[in-house]
Amino acid sequence: MINVVLGVIGFDCHSVGNKILEAFFVESGFKVTNLGVMVSQEEFIDAAIETDARVILVSSLYGHGEIDCAGLREKCIEKGLENILLYVGGNLVVGKTPPDEVERKFLKMGYDRVFGPDCELEKVVELLNGDLEAKKDCD
């Protein structure tokens, strides 16, 4: 079973989507470590190391995503998580913004995939399985 770490970053308290994501990823066959809301970058990384996770699923709903999410990739590398996938999703920036603009921003920060609040979870899991497969080949 593949380990994933899930949580809502920063000082964000939006818990409803988090509970749904947990239920969905469990049902899709992943072993989910759900850190809940208000998770710091350090907590994400520690949990990923501890559980030997292949991907971190970061949520940010409340608008501070741009500030809170910056630097996670660098910190992962620092801590030796060179190969980990970083997925991020939610209402990532303040204000209604074209999705491709948001995507560009977060790809540049080092996230592998960027999702809006309207993403279909089935599709996410499909992409994730593909990405995990591709990573395997790299290993």
Binding site: A23, V94, G95, K96
Partner: protein, 481 residues
């Protein structure tokens, strides 16, 4: 002075500490704050506006809004006042400030200056301090309120009340359970005692500040009795500290008849329990929140949700309605989108304000049902607290006798699972440890079975998920495809 009231001595002791938690607190004077409040004209006082709305059977409209920088925030509020026609103004506080992370808020202000746009999801009032707040409150014509989500809102209250805000949202339960993860309930309730006492001190000095517990909680399938219990308990806690102007609220559930019943029962119940606690000298008004759960992304659909919320608010006779914008699903609204939400709401209110909803037998039954549920939980709270509502509510949350669905706090059991019945009323599927008696649960279960039968599936967890997404996907009840 009642026995629950925070003594002036204790208050002053806490105050000294609190003011030192951020530089803008240092030189605050309570006397100067009171003097400043006294020269605010009555037409800018929130408590007066709420009382008058209630007397005149009007439904006032209020947006949510807050950005990082003072000048931008002023422009935003002025736009909502003139272009949007808001009756009441907000200042929504950013999420760092809500967690007392003033350092992070400072970074947010800095980055917003660089980006020439707000990177904060609200106005960092503590960082901007007294002078910044007064710039804001002096720049507008309407009563203005602090809206936030802060478990420890003591410094924020000191600064904003001295800064000219005349209403303060929140409470020790409603600004903890949905907004925090690890803050103990006793801690947030104690911290809110301070806030309420501060308001009480203003009151005793001739300045009436309006207080509004935050009723929608997680905004997601909250049964009326759950939010009513929180509202009533926070009302009592506020009254104990000398607060006189209280606005209790309810977040739209989606079924017209349940929403009507909820708003009608709320006032009855509050009066009943306030009397039980020995209070009779207060001004009680109501607020209705347009749909607080996930919104549809499409703006035309969002307008429909907004308009429907406005319609129910006015049919239910709410004194105020909190307005959403067509951007809700996507991000903090532009000032234009925010004004559109206000205009859409105003139109609905004005079209419906003269229409009198006759309360028939079926409506009364739903009112009775909610009252029964609230009394059931309240009795458990009194029992667990040996007669004291504060101790009782803390014990009730610990035991799960009181429980909020989908909340982030570890001090909430989160075992309750709400679900819509066949007509869209929010019922309880799994009560967890909620103190609801069998008769009530049989009623809920029966209603849910009706739905299950209609959908040809068992009552199941999938229904809860379906219901969470329903409105955003364009329905009320999350039926199978």
């Amino acid at each position: 002075m009642n026995s629950f009231m925070l003594s002036r001595e204790n208050f002053d002791k806490i105050r000294q500490e609190i003011l030192l938690t951020w530089p803008t607190g240092k030189d605050l004077s309570l006397e100067e704050g009171i003097a400043y409040q006294k020269q605010i004209p009555p037409e800018k006082n929130f408590a007066v506006a709420m009382r008058q709305a209630s007397e005149n059977k009007e439904t006032l409209i209020q947006p949510r809004a807050g950005v990082a920088l003072i000048q931008d925030h002023i422009k935003l509020l002025q736009y909502l006042e003139t272009e949007g026609g808001a009756d009441l103004l907000p200042t929504t506080i950013d999420a760092y400030t809500r967690q007392n992370r003033y350092q992070e808020a400072a970074v947010g202000i800095e980055k917003s200056l660089q980006a020439r746009t707000s990177l904060l999801n609200g106005f960092p009032a503590v960082n901007h301090g007294l002078a910044g707040c007064r710039q804001v409150t002096e720049a507008v014509k309407s009563p203005i309120q602090v809206r936030h989500g802060t478990p420890d809102a003591r410094l924020l209250a000191e600064i904003t009340l001295a800064g000219g805000f005349t209403s303060y949202e929140g409470g020790g339960i409603s600004y903890n359970i949905p907004y925090a993860k690890k803050v103990p309930l006793q801690k947030s309730i104690d911290d809110w005692k301070y806030v309420d006492r501060l308001v009480g001190i203003y009151e005793e000095n001739g300045v009436r500040i309006n207080r509004e517990p935050f009723s929608p909680l997680t905004g997601t399938l909250v049964p009326p009795f759950v939010s009513h219990v929180v509202a009533i308990v926070e009302g009592i806690l506020a009254l104990r500290q000398g607060v006189k102007s209280i606005t209790l609220g309810y977040g739209q559930g989606g079924n017209l008849f349940q929403d009507l019943a909820a708003l009608i029962s709320l006032k009855n119940l509050a009066r009943e329990f306030f009397a039980r606690e020995g209070f009779d000298d207060y001004e009680l008004t109501t607020v209705f929140h347009q749909w607080m759960g996930g919104f549809p992304e499409d703006e035309a659909k969002a307008f429909s949700v907004i308009s429907w919320g406005a319609s129910v608010a006015v049919l239910a006779g709410a004194d105020k309605v909190i307005v959403k914008s067509p951007h809700e699903a996507m991000g903090i609204p532009t000032k234009e989108a925010n004004a559109q939400g206000l205009k859409c709401t105003r139109q609905a209110i004005n079209m419906l304000r003269d229409q009198v909803f006759p309360i028939g037998r079926k409506h009364q039954a739903e009112i009775d049902q909610i009252e029964k549920e609230v009394r059931c939980i309240m009795n458990a709270i009194y029992r667990l607290g040996n007669g004291d509502v504060e101790a009782g509510v803390i014990a009730a949350f610990a035991a799960g006798a009181m429980d909020v669905p989908f909340a982030p706090s570890v001090h909430n059991q989160g075992k309750i699972l709400p679900m819509r019945d066949n007509e869209g009323f929010i019922r309880v599927f799994n009560k967890g440890n909620l103190a609801l008696d069998d008769e009530i649960m049989d009623y809920h279960r029966g209603k849910l079975e009706e739905r299950a039968a209609a959908e040809g599936r068992q009552v199941c967890f999938q229904m809860v998920t379906d219901d969470i997404y329903a409105i955003s996907k364009g329905r009320l009840v999350g039926r199978p495809k």
